[in-house]
Assembly symmetry: C2
C-alpha cells in the first residue's frame, strides 16, 4: 500500500502545483501517457490534456487547495480515495470529491473517474 | 438517471436471485457479454463467470441479502453506489460495500469494481 499512498499523495500534489513546469513533471510521474480523467464537470486525455485541465481548475480556484481525506483504499489495480477542496485561509471544505482510479503496471494512474459529494461553488 | 437507477436495482436483484435460470437472465440483462467484476475477495469475467461468482457468494451467505444503500450516482458512462449485506432475519448489516461501474453504450454494465467498507464476517 505504500506505493499507492505515495502515488495518491503525488496526485493531490499535482492538483496543487501551480508552477507549470513542476506541475507537468508531477503529471508525468502520476499518470501514464495515455491516461484519462473524467468527472461530472470536466475531462482530460493524456498527460498534456490532464495538465491543461488542472491548470484551468487552478485558475478558477486560485485561493483553494486540495487535501486528501483519509488514506486511499486499494486492491488489485484499483484505488479509491476522497479529497476536500479547502480555502487557503482555512474554513470548511467548499467541495468534497470521491475518485476512483485504475493503475497501470508501472504503478501510475491509467484512468481516474471523479464524483462530487457536494456541488462546487 | 432513471435508466441507471433501474440498472442498479437489477444489479442488486441479480445478487439476490437464487433461481439459477432467473439469475442468469438477470446477469444477461445487467452485464455485457464481456463484462468483468473485481473486488478484494473475488472476480468474475463474462456473464457466465459473473453468474458463477454470484452463485458462490449466495452459497456462502445463504441467509443474507443485498440492499442498495441510497440512490446511485452517475455521470457520463460511470456510476457509483453503496450496498449493505443484511441478514434475512433483520439486524445491522454484516458488510457494506461501495461499487464503481462503467456502462456500455447499450446501458448495461461493462465493468464493476467493488470495495468493502467493513470486513465480511
Amino acid at each position: 500500500m505504500t506505493d499507492v499512498a505515495t502515488l495518491i499523495d503525488g496526485y493531490i500534489a499535482t492538483w496543487n502545483e501551480k508552477d507549470p513546469e513542476r506541475r507537468l513533471a508531477l503529471v508525468a510521474e502520476t499518470f501514464t501517457n495515455d491516461a484519462d480523467y473524467l468527472d461530472p464537470l470536466m475531462q482530460g486525455a493524456g498527460q498534456d490534456g490532464i495538465d491543461a485541465m488542472i491548470a484551468g481548475v487552478q485558475q478558477q480556484y486560485a485561493d483553494y487547495r486540495f487535501e486528501l481525506a483519509g488514506a486511499p483504499d486499494a486492491h488489485n489495480d484499483r484505488v479509491r480515495f476522497s479529497w476536500h477542496l479547502v480555502g487557503n485561509g482555512g474554513g470548511a471544505p467548499v467541495a468534497t470529491g470521491y475518485d476512483f482510479g485504475t493503475l497501470a503496471e508501472d504503478g501510475r494512474l491509467r484512468s481516474v473517474t471523479g464524483f462530487l459529494e457536494t456541488p462546487t461553488q
